[in-house]
């Protein structure tokens, strides 16, 4: 055990820090859940890509930098520490990207990954259906094999940023009569194909953050399938594992708000200290965020030694989503009477940041598999408790 960075790692950190200092937009970009904000975030992604910082842990041939996961953690620390823009294409880059690296054919990797790294292609996830939420194996959207194509019919929902995205990936029932997790295929669908209709859904903050996708005889070549026909569940579970696990929510994503929360507390100390529970909560938020970082370095070390991350990624997901709630709730408590204000209000200072954080934190225990489902997974797969 050695908890010190190598000179190479320090040099990498410095390089990232300097580049971000020179390039992070001074003015916060408008939310990527609007058309304008989405485009500006795409341009930022292209800038990151050109500097080689889009997907640092991908192989160079696919638009990455060939870094290991420790470097990725370092990158994330600098990225969030610098207050750089949210990663608009992360569902593609982090979730589908990992799946393609593991399961894609050489052609698929060569075609899709670089375009994803540069955000020339923007991706949306399409798993959920009206009757397949937590019970994802209940998927009923069909993909009927027809020569060298699939014909897709059905409906997906809650697809994040699908109204602006170029592509969607998800599971479709390709084997007629199949049930549950059998007979599903993992398909990539260009969203400009005939027969695709996208209807936005306003999220809690009023922005059209996710969407329903309707498929009406949508024709997709079989070369857009990842893994074998009918074996999509297996491929998707690997993706879900990554999502719950480290990649989607790196520790720095929580350490930065925790740092801001401490500052918010210090700036409002007299008011906050009227209730000693606030200081306790702020300290716990910081400490939990740091514990999550330590846990990440430990996990990455074990992954580098060849270990697989199992059900413990479910514990991670529960931990960060609950931490996110505590951080933003505590901030709202400190802001007190002005906490409800929108960013446009005259008295608003950092209010938009905290209100956005607070609203989005409400979704954390739901998306990427609800925390109830994660607790079931931990109990059954990690502790070995009986299924039914």
């Amino acid at each position: 055990m050695k908890l010190q960075f190598s000179p190479e790692q320090d040099a990498f950190r410095l390089e990232v820090r300097q580049w971000l200092a020179a390039n992070v937009p001074k003015q916060k970009l408008p939310t990527y859940d609007t058309k304008e904000g989405f485009e500006l975030h795409r341009q930022w992604e292209q800038k990151l890509f050109e500097a080689g910082f889009s997907m640092v842990m991908w192989p160079k041939e696919y638009g990455g930098r060939g870094c290991d996961l420790i470097d990725w953690l370092i990158f994330e620390e600098e990225y969030y520490g610098a207050g750089a823009p949210g990663r608009v294409n992360q569902n593609g880059q982090l979730l589908l990207g990992s799946t393609l690296l593991d399961f894609g054919t050489p052609e698929q990797k060569a075609h899709f990954l670089p375009r994803m790294a540069s955000s020339e292609d923007m991706w949306a996830q399409a798993w959920s259906e009206p009757n397949a939420g937590s019970d994802m194996a209940n998927i009923s959207s069909k993909a009927t094999l027809d020569g060298d194509h699939y014909i897709i019919n059905g409906q997906k929902t809650w697809s994040t940023r699908a109204i602006y995205a170029d592509w969607a990936f998800g599971l479709f029932r390709s084997q007629p009569g199949s049930e549950r997790h059998h007979g599903l295929s993992f398909l990539l669908v260009p969203l400009n194909t005939d027969g695709v209709t996208i209807r936005p859904i306003k999220a809690l903050d009023g922005e059209e953050a996710f969407a329903e996708i309707f498929f009406d005889d949508v024709k997709v070549p079989i070369t857009n399938r990842i893994g074998d026909d009918g074996k999509g569940w297996h491929v998707a579970m690997a993706t879900a594992g990554f999502e719950r696990g480290l990649l989607l929510r790196s520790p720095a994503r929580f350490q930065q708000p925790a740092r801001r929360l401490v500052q918010l507390y210090r700036d409002n100390k007299a008011a906050a200290d009227r209730d000693p529970a606030i200081a306790v909560a702020v300290s716990k938020c910081w400490s939990d965020a740091e514990a999550y970082a330590l846990s990440a370095y430990n996990t990455v070390g074990r992954v580098n030694n060849g270990e697989k991350i199992g059900a413990e990624s479910s514990l991670n997901k529960i931990f960060w989503s609950e931490l996110d709630l505590l951080i933003s709730q505590t901030a709202m408590d400190i802001l007190g009477a002005t906490g409800e204000l929108l960013g446009s209000a005259t008295l608003a200072q950092e209010h938009a940041y905290w209100l956005d954080a607070f609203l989005f934190a409400q979704a954390g225990p739901i998306y990427a598999g609800t925390n109830e489902i994660q607790r079931n997974i931990v109990a059954e797969r990690m502790l070995g408790l009986p299924k039914k």
């Binding site: 055990m1 010190q4 620390e77 514990a291 330590l294 607790r375 931990v378 408790l385």
Partner: protein, 352 residues
């Protein structure tokens, strides 16, 4: 940057685990708890394995094992509820003696004794009015302000103070601090006591984490066997989720404990805070494991009959040993809130 244990360290833990599972079974503990035997048989078995020599320096014939490896060992000691005197002698007192200047005449001899299997050391620190194992110790290391005093059994009077953890032997100690018994004082003494307090604290942290795992294992086992409404109670989601939450507390506490151990071993400037942070996480895990453990055992959980009770009570007792939980929480809070440090995400391993 490598936040992992070596294969040797993991193998060592595995070996210790198997040894203690045989020699410190719940039945053995029960005998100690009921007063049928004292801990000395168990302790001699442990010493015979050479475990008293683990952290003794090589000069005195020991293995010079550091705090990082000890963070695995203390979890095993907790898991098997090994009575205090082993960790306090072989780890905490050994650390204290090792830190003494070579000019202290008793240093080498005392370390050699520990190496040879003498586990009769008691340490009295100002964080508690009680000293564990003071009435049976042959050597007492006692704090008086910044001074460290070395006393023999004949030099002190002890009054036993029974604990809810029946394996504990707490006592009030009366003694006179005089120049002849003082072996270190001043700044050097203050530093030794600070390090000793930290080592005691992290020893307890590891034990609490091991206890949490033991309570979780016992609870999982029970909920796989006990049936109600025609099925195992472990199939009920309300039971599953309580135990999943315990698993969550345990998993997140591990890296915090390991980082603290690494800081202590390498004299990191933030060791104090890191150790208190580890204590907080390990305490939380143990407290929840105890509460959930009792709950899923139903009325059985409220009896003397189940083995669970020994681990639960030990966890409660250790929670305020080597610094109470308020002190450890306050130490972290003070660092986080009242220092003017900018807690940037890049600072996790830095001493800013």
């Amino acid at each position: 940057m490598d936040f992992t244990f070596s294969e040797d360290e993991l193998l060592f833990r595995e070996t210790i685990h198997r040894f203690l599972a045989t020699e410190a079974s719940p039945e053995t503990l029960r005998d100690i708890w009921s007063g049928d035997t004292d801990a000395s048989t168990l302790l001699s078995l442990i010493a015979e394995q050479g475990l008293s020599a683990l952290s003794v320096p090589e000069e005195q014939g020991g293995l010079a094992m550091g705090d990082v490896a000890w963070s695995l060992m203390t979890q095993e000691l907790g898991y098997h509820a090994i009575p205090d005197v082993f960790a306090n002698s072989a780890y905490v007192a050994t650390g204290l003696l090792t830190a003494l200047d070579d000019s202290v005449s008793q240093k080498a001899e005392l370390l050699e004794r520990i190496c040879a299997g003498d586990l009769g050391f008691a340490i009295g620190h100002s964080c508690s009015p009680l000293v564990a194992d003071a009435d049976s110790a042959d050597t007492l290391l006692l704090q008086h302000a910044d001074e460290l005093h070395l006393l023999g059994a004949a030099d002190v009077q002890t009054v036993p103070n029974p604990s809810i953890d029946f394996s504990r032997r707490l006592a009030q100690v009366s003694w006179n601090a005089n120049p002849e018994t003082c072996i270190v004082s001043g700044e050097a003494g203050g530093k030794i006591w600070n390090d000793t307090f930290n080592r005691g604290s992290i020893s307890v942290a590891g034990q609490l984490l091991g206890l949490a795992q033991r309570m979780l294992d016992l609870s999982v086992e029970y909920s796989q066997q006990r049936k109600q409404f025609g099925k195992e109670i472990g199939s009920f989601q309300a039971v599953k989720h309580q135990l999943a939450d315990v698993a969550g507390k345990i998993e997140i506490a591990k890296p915090v404990l390991y980082r603290a151990a690494c800081s202590l071993e390498n004299h990191h400037p933030l060791s104090d805070m890191h150790i208190s942070q580890a204590r907080n996480f390990c305490s939380d895990a143990a407290a929840l494991a105890a509460r959930a453990g009792i709950q899923v055992h139903g009325a059985m959980g409220y009896t003397w009959e189940v083995d669970l009770q020994m681990y639960v009570k030990r966890a409660w007792a250790l929670n305020n040993t080597w610094g109470d939980s308020i002190m450890h929480r306050a130490r972290v809070q003070d660092y986080v809130l009242n220092s003017d440090i900018d807690h940037a995400p890049s600072n996790t391993f830095e001493a800013v």
